[in-house]
Symmetry: D4
Subunit: 254 residues, 8 copies
């Protein structure tokens, strides 16, 4: 029940077409979203430029492709993360314009596009093994109409590689830093830029990296201010949060 | 050596006032910041509205108050977190306008002020015991000239308390969510708003909260997109990051 | 030795057919269950409506199907959790009425049925990936003759989905809440209802969910009173405990 | 706004004393509890026999006693857990009938009493050091008008001590099992009774008990069905949940 | 009811002084220990040479000294571990022959003595800081009438110190190895002797010793066969278990 | 160089057949075992009744069978733990009398036998899934010429099953208790018997059993005295240690 | 841009062939390494005797062999760790002199050789299962032109095996100690030698070794001074660090 | 028994002054160090320039000062780490030239001095709070006659501070890197230098630093080769190991 419907109800009470008791009953029983709290619904609703996102890991081929179809039917952009080529082959039969990024394991279907955002999201990664997660972040942000610049393989063991890009990094609106092993890159980037930094620990490493725990703890303890952290390997989450931050910028006129 | 100085050096080479060998030597030996990479220095430099921040825990009274004096001498705003009343009594003798927030354990000295930012940072906390950390976030952001609105004691065990504020929350540029115990508030707020959410786990809880670990893990695993996390009890970090995000918004014109 | 046998022994002492010393010896040596402590045995005994439960994980096909046969021979209901289709194919040859639930991985054989319980057990789950565990809880309770109502995919990131069911939930006798990732649903449901809540953490999640540890800790630290917790993915345990609770209600007349 | 107030509002709309637009505005703005979703509020509201509960740890004397006064002013029963004698001395000046339990560290103020529940809650503890937590559970349940029977110091190292009470335990509606160290008592009691068992791990132990972690994990892994677990040392939570379970029984007539 | 009382009961049945039904009732209701299952009771009962043991940590002075008095009243040997001098001063007033070992923090009262056991228990410790735990083991075993030989400060960083005693060690019936830090001593001793080795990890260490966890894990993973482990700092447990092992030897004749 | 060889060397020094300097050189260079410290070598040496033990996990078929051959060539008993049928098929071709225990995954080759020990080792296990580990313990002890009695599937959820065997258990020289999940059985057995108890945690369980950690911690924290613990799933270690303990008994005459 | 190029640039400025502004631009844009900060680059650069190292785990066959080709093209020695035979077969087609070490899983291609270092690196390992890691260390060091001596299977359970080599060990410049399970070997070797010791925990073990955590913690807590630790299974890291240490020795003349 | 004494013994055998049997007995019983394995003893022995080290934490004043006296009596340098001013006051009465470093909590007594080593040990620390540990490393190395250069407060959040010293760092023989929080400095320094790097995690930090665990894991996972790690806060260990490494250099001539 939205504001308009609520008004209609009250008017029929006023007009005597509806008794007070019936109105009380209807008001108490109505779902919350009917009260017009549409925003509560936003994560599932289709809003301009926000893709529907399907997390494919652990879903059967049938299940995942059916969800993909349903999402696509709305005319929205669709993003399927942790997807396999098998799934893509299936999806591709129905959606000829869908694309598959082998590194990021993402299927994307772009059905509409808005003007790109102002401000650039920098995606910085430590090693080539972190690329899968970094690319997941990049594609997520791009599907949400953000400009993205990538700086890969600039880990701290060769600090000059990173410093060579310091001016470009300083021009970004948001920086996403993707690193496994000791995760030190987040702190170094955090010290170079004055935009918000989203750190993504990856499970890249062995032995006492304990599946990304070492990088996660390091990033949470970053000595650089302005660094926030998402879950291990959660490139999607970082891309999504960076987009929200950059939208803040673009929403200023509003 | 900034760009101007570099130009001067090259001109004296051109003019023959400086030999090529001497120039090579000077160029190779010069500190990086002299090359004009001023931004590298930004965390320590004094920039309009960014306070100097002193983390007092573990510092002696003498040490902490001396640092405070040195920071204040620059004419900047100064923020001392995890401070004691003893330290404040000492600081107050030298800096009559310094203020002490007993809940947040913060000493603040405001020596200059800029026009407040556009956009509001919402600070949301779960229980009254989380106030210390929430207040640390609030004061940090305010010292950096942000507008802050607080929503305290709105934990998920009485979800209606939070929902009553949902429209206000949806108007914020950034939301900081402070919660201990099971940290569920971050996910619920993340589902209500579409601005970036910074989650701060607190060490409030007992038994299997393991000093905030339960809330930290919960927040990292939030099912709501757009949530990023800072260290346990790190209200300062959340306030700082939220300010960077909101500045993104305000920097648009730039 | 049951009460009757004990009486016989004492009578033969009285009659002099048995010496006192021999009786002392026999009394000291007899197994405890012979003393009539039948209740000690209850978990293994066959009582009306309690199914025999076989945990299949790690058991060979031969082993599991043999146990199934033995249980079925008693005429009882039989429940085999964590079962495979292979096992079902085998079991089905002997027990034509056995059924297999593909989602919950449960084989059930109903050989007798009592009138359904009063009171309803609500099974609430956060995401579609939690279904396996939620269904395990549902089927367990139903095999023990409970009425169950399910509320699936009502995770806290879209809180209105849950709130839309709040009145139904408030009518339940017991609520089982199944959630992975950050496990926040348990706290929110715990704040909505005033019946006992059994929280089941699932291993759904990735990165720092550490196989369900994040959800487990969150649920143990729930800020809502009245929440108790079972092991990770233990849908059976939750269904069993919820049944015991609801039986408490139905046993009132006794 | 309760149902009555809602009716009044609708009647003034009907009567034309209030415009439809004003009514829309008021309806959308009102706090949820005013819509009559009273149950949402139940944890904070005062209902017959449920005490207001104050968790005192980490609260200042001033703070804690002020909350106590405010709770007591409603005429409700009040329960203050993890309280000190100092706090009691303060509280006692205002509330002459308040009582202090030195072992459980609980202040209780009983201002009204209902007929005791049917069914008995058994509180079973392993060692004398677990008494504080066990007593917290007992007093919590009793303040909520439950009948409680206690079986203390019946740990599994001398199993006969427990078995001597097995018949009494089997007569309970709910059993609360409080144990530190290896927490084995929960499994043994779970095997003896067929009512729901709430296990409370305590931080009693040393070395590799890791503050109650050993007992917590043991209880979560109990081989006995029907056992659910609350947080370490959370006697209050166990007493509260047990009461909810026993109320299930007593609410049958409803 | 012990064997004698049981016999009396049966005799009164025989004599007709007691009816069979009354006897059945009494037999079923009597506590298990009354049936003469004395062994069930053994940990609490007083048997030749086994001291009553009181774990004092966390017990009040009043409580601890009262328990001591009660134990002593039985004429048994009494052992109070983790005791303070304050407690000893109190105990000493009542029990003039009680002794206090300042290193081990043990109060011991010897009221009877049997011939010492055959076979020697070797107590080996790595560093001087491990002495408290090693002495707790030694005194425990001696109070249970065992012969003990001690080899202290023979840690593996100076392996020759240990090797110098290898022949003596090889003559022991049981070896208790007490070590903190990396706990390597257990493996080395386990490789030198062919008697059972009980390893006691201590909380001695810092940083990544995590309160004895490092030594505990090391000892559990010992590459030497025949090593078993007790809880961190549990010198009493090691002394007790070693005594049971050595009694095995001495009970051969039985 | 054994004592005899040492004597010969000294005699040739005495006789002048060997110079003092040469003797010094030989004495300093000789391997330690040559000095007659034969016991240092005992774990690798062949002593009556001690089998050579090969841990097969992670060894290639070629490697494992080659080691087996080498061990067998000494005429000793050989024990290969964690073995596969493939390995057995290979071994069996060379050693026709070798046997394979499918449950325990052990290959054993008995080439000599001594009179069985006095005293019985009781192997007690909680559930059928613990059999593999329990059987590993049993076979290990039997290969070392011990008498073993087994009590399987007597977990604490049905305590009467265990109590029915209490007298037999009390007659054992050593008890090995094998249990996964919550590991409570060790404490209960520890309370029933007064012989040494070796607890073996198993990785049986799921969710928060964390691969046997729950059982391991529980056993280390056992409230029953006289319980020591070996590594998770280390049936061999328990069987070996129990044998050493029982040998203590049998060595008394020596 | 190296020093020579820098000089050329400055000379063209001097000569007027290049404007000052252009030179400023070029100087600010040039990669850092061009400024002659060659050392910053050292890990990636080709220096005499340092092989290029490729960590193959998780890299596709195509990817890994392409990197190998690129490295080899520089004429340097190449080392590929955690390699498979499949990769080797591929690499071998292009590089006929490449060698594969099956135990260490290393492909090595030696294209140039310098005189061997002074001083010997001792590689000591506890058990045969630790060989893979030990060999990785040995080959790494040898490819960097170090002399290596190996002492394998000298674990502490048979301490005499190690002691037999003590004089040789004492002659080493650096010792690498490789051990899994309880990792005690590092402390014992640390106590025998007075050269630096690098300890490498391995994931060899089971149960509570937790993938090498037990050995890692033990080594970090070593009671022997002079022991430092690398990551679990990181044989390469140990070989690399040992080489750096031994180069320190050889660089003395410099 | 050293080589000389051994020779004397053999000569008296030769001369018949000692029987062969007596010699056998003496040879088998003699402590190992008497065989001339003097190096085994080195950690406790007094060698030129190696101070005696006393770890004071947990030692009583009496105990610690007595050990200090005994060490000093040998004429050696003495180092007491984790010392208090109280201890120093006591020590100072006996040893007028002893010095106390308030930051490092070290008492040092220099009684002899050798020519300083060649090569410099660089001690690099991240923040001012890491000074205590860094100073412990510096003083340890200096007492062992090493040249030390310190670079404090050069954490990665302001990377230019570190880079300004890169040339000096590159000249060091060994680098000790001391850092808490995320420990990233070790990786960055490891990438700048080509000498061995010893990383010391400190317990500086809060929340998810878990007492230094975050820094420890980060350092173990360093992406820079050549980094080895010591225990949390173990400045002494780092200083000691660095000295051993630098001695390698100085021992070349030998």
């Amino acid at each position: 029940m939205n504001a308009k419907q609520l008004k209609l109800l009250l008017e029929s009470v006023k007009d005597g077409r509806e008794t007070v008791d019936d109105a009380v009953t209807r008001l108490r029983a109505m779902p919350f979203e009917d009260l017009g709290f549409a925003k509560i619904d936003h994560h599932r609703s289709i809003r301009c430029g926000f893709p529907e996102v399907i997390y494919c890991e652990g879903k059967s081929l049938d299940h995942a492709s059916a969800i993909f179809d349903r999402c696509a039917a709305n005319g929205d952009n669709v993003l399927a993360t942790r997807a396999t080529r098998e799934l893509f082959d299936r999806v591709h039969q129905q959606h000829a314009t869908a694309e598959f990024d082998e590194t990021a394991c993402i299927i994307s279907l772009r059905q509409n596009k808005v003007a790109p955002s102002e401000g650039t999201i920098a995606v910085v990664s430590a090693g080539t093994s972190d690329s899968r997660v970094a690319e997941e972040a990049r594609i997520t942000a791009e599907m949400m109409d953000q400009k993205v610049a990538t700086y890969y393989d600039v880990g701290v063991a060769g600090i000059h590689r990173l410093l060579a890009h310091s001016q470009d990094l300083q021009a970004a609106s948001v920086a996403i830093v993707v690193a496994g092993m000791e995760g030190a890159l987040a702190s170094v980037v955090g010290g170079l830029v004055d935009c918000p930094v989203i750190a993504v620990p990856t499970s890249v490493g062995y032995g006492a990296s304990f599946g990304g725990l070492a990088a996660l703890l390091a990033m949470l303890n970053s000595c650089a201010s302005g660094v926030t952290v998402v879950n291990i390997d959660n490139g999607f989450g970082a891309g999504y949060a960076a987009t929200l931050i950059n939208r803040t910028r673009n929403s200023k006129a509003g």
